[in-house]
Symmetry: C2
Subunit: 333 residues, 2 copies
DNA sequence: CTGTTAGCGCCTTCAA
DNA sequence: TTGAAGGCGCTAACAG
């Protein structure tokens, strides 16, 4: 019902040349006479020959495939990163194997194992931290790896992100400048390096600079979900906080709506700054003021860096901090 | 700086058996004495041997990899589908190669070509229609393909989705039952089969059943973006429509906010039903009434169906219509 | 239960 | 500029 898989050998025979020659024209090798090249190309076209990437991968030890470890594709932050990665990857003729890890230590390890077994030429890692075991595995392989959007406290792995600590500090400072002294810090798990070692540090730095004492009671650790935020609004209502820095948009939306439902007037009674600037920020009413993170660009730049690493090019700088901003909308005065 | 790649041959030598035996234990083949199996396993562990999936793929003609053609990972509808696909895929030990197509005919064709070159064992196709050229290519390959979340007007390809026409009809009927006679139909491009041949048909069917004349002026074709919706609110304001069926959530959110900003009271002056039930529907104020689509499940079921096809199992039914619902929230009375 | 022997389809020296 | 030949690492008969 279908023609058998046609191979480089078939093309060689039909074209009256050796398979080596076919291989050369397929790979754009220079040393082929134009005439024979045309002849081969014609046969390739006629036979509808399609090189087998698996065989090619085995022989050349290059698969033109990169692995992407992502906590969850349905998370807008990560899906934007992934899009940037894929666009640049396809630009350089790479495909990506996408694997969800749920940010789970064991799954990550397992996914990495799969990826390496599949002989990916490189890996883009996304996550909210970098566990020691994984870091360990990373150092045991010579497949190049780049962190996209995440943080590496130990500065060992090529990384593309923004300065989360500085961004957080800026956001909190903005709140302070608006007259607030009781500012809540709301994020996901403080087990995650990005929250514990960067965002929280930026928050503290802002307070310190303003001479405001750090108050443990204003630090809230929760899930990155709308409902978690909606419920947290209750708790918040019981504190003397008058503003909040929030680590994720969906969470912020929940807090905003929860507060509003309780009759709190945002931004007049309470101000909020969130951290990602996903589409959500424009959809809520009032619209969310937010740190703006160039997610797509981080993904794209990380992938670009990876192509260099895979090509054994020298990386001038393996730790790129992209510019961020703060977009004022309606949850701040 | 790193130990050379260790192969099945190294393991065989160290364990004092043939590579065939090692292959057997690695592949869980039954015919191996427990003693030698243990011995081999020990060596594998000691040497930290990891089977090369590329070589395995070449020899066995199976890559345990499936290709996923997706319009855009950052679209919540598709990313949920993709998550369902990946979860089931990994459950069956498959990896997925994710490729964005932007729903573009040429990109799709090109992506398909790549996927086939990489010898994927199967393909999950996502899109808002199925162009003839692509359908053509699909029929020229014997790699199994399943459509996830999309529609195939010609009923040729295994598909998992919901009955979009019926769902739309239900939604519009709900609006009619609430007393509306001028109901706008707002969707993305009518070039797309899903809109032209299913949603619009469902809309017309509802009108007809209620004896309401179809009015071309109430059909709006636009982009699936928040801003498109926000601007469309203007146009809508100029018509005599008192309710709207909207084909996507982000678009609906734009319309809702645009209308609200113009002083229209939703749902009292205007009712809206949207189509996907993404998280957005709970975040807008008022919250959006919506058709609920089991996106994750569609992806999961599609992938499950694909595993059967790849395993040459018989598919009892290649066209699965999953149940949907309508969730009443605050944009309808 | 285990070993031998061919390939799988292509790349890549090495010669010619 | 082109061809011959030897792998890449593993699976899959086929023997024994």
């Amino acid at each position: 019902m279908e023609k058998e898989n046609i191979t480089i050998y078939d093309v060689a025979r039909e074209a009256g040349v050796s398979m080596a020659t076919v291989s050369r024209v397929v790979n754009g090798n220079s040393n082929v006479k134009q005439a024979t090249k045309d002849k081969v190309l014609a046969v390739i076209d006629r036979l509808d020959y399609r090189p087998n990437a698996v065989a090619r991968g085995l022989a050349s030890k290059k698969t033109t495939t990169v692995g992407v470890i992502i906590p969850d594709v349905t998370d807008m932050f990560f899906s934007e990163l992934a899009r940037g990665v894929d666009d640049v990857a396809s630009m350089y003729h790479y495909n990506i194997i996408l694997a969800n890890s749920d940010d789970s230590g064991t799954k990550e390890l397992q996914v990495l194992e799969n990826l390496l077994a599949k002989q990916v030429d490189g890996i883009i890692y996304m996550g909210n931290g970098l566990r020691d075991k994984l870091r360990d595995q990373f150092s045991h392989t010579n497949v190049p790896i780049v962190l996209a959007g995440g943080v590496d406290e130990k500065n060992q792995i090529p990384t593309v992100n923004i300065d989360y600590a500085a961004a957080t500090k800026d956001a909190v400072t903005k709140l302070i400048n608006n007259g607030h002294k009781q500012i809540a810090f709301i994020s996901g798990s403080l087990q995650q390096a990005i929250n514990q070692n960067y965002r929280l540090q930026g928050y503290k730095a802002a307070l310190e600079e303003a001479g405001i004492a750090f108050d443990e009671a204003l630090v809230f650790e929760t899930q990155y979900t709308y409902n978690a935020g909606f419920e947290l609004a209750n708790e918040l209502y019981g504190t003397d906080a008058t503003a909040a820095f929030v680590g994720a948009d969906e969470l912020a939306a929940g807090i905003l709506n929860g507060l509003t439902d309780r009759g709190v007037d945002v931004p007049n009674d309470f101000e909020i700054i969130t951290s990602i600037n996903t589409k959500l920020t424009q959809i809520t009413r009032p619209q969310l003021t937010s740190i703006s993170i160039p997610m797509y660009d981080m993904g794209a730049v990380a992938m670009r860096m990876l192509t260099k690493l895979m090509g054994k090019e020298n990386i001038e700088n393996g730790r790129l901090s992209l510019p961020y901003g703060i977009i004022s909308r309606q949850t701040t005065r």
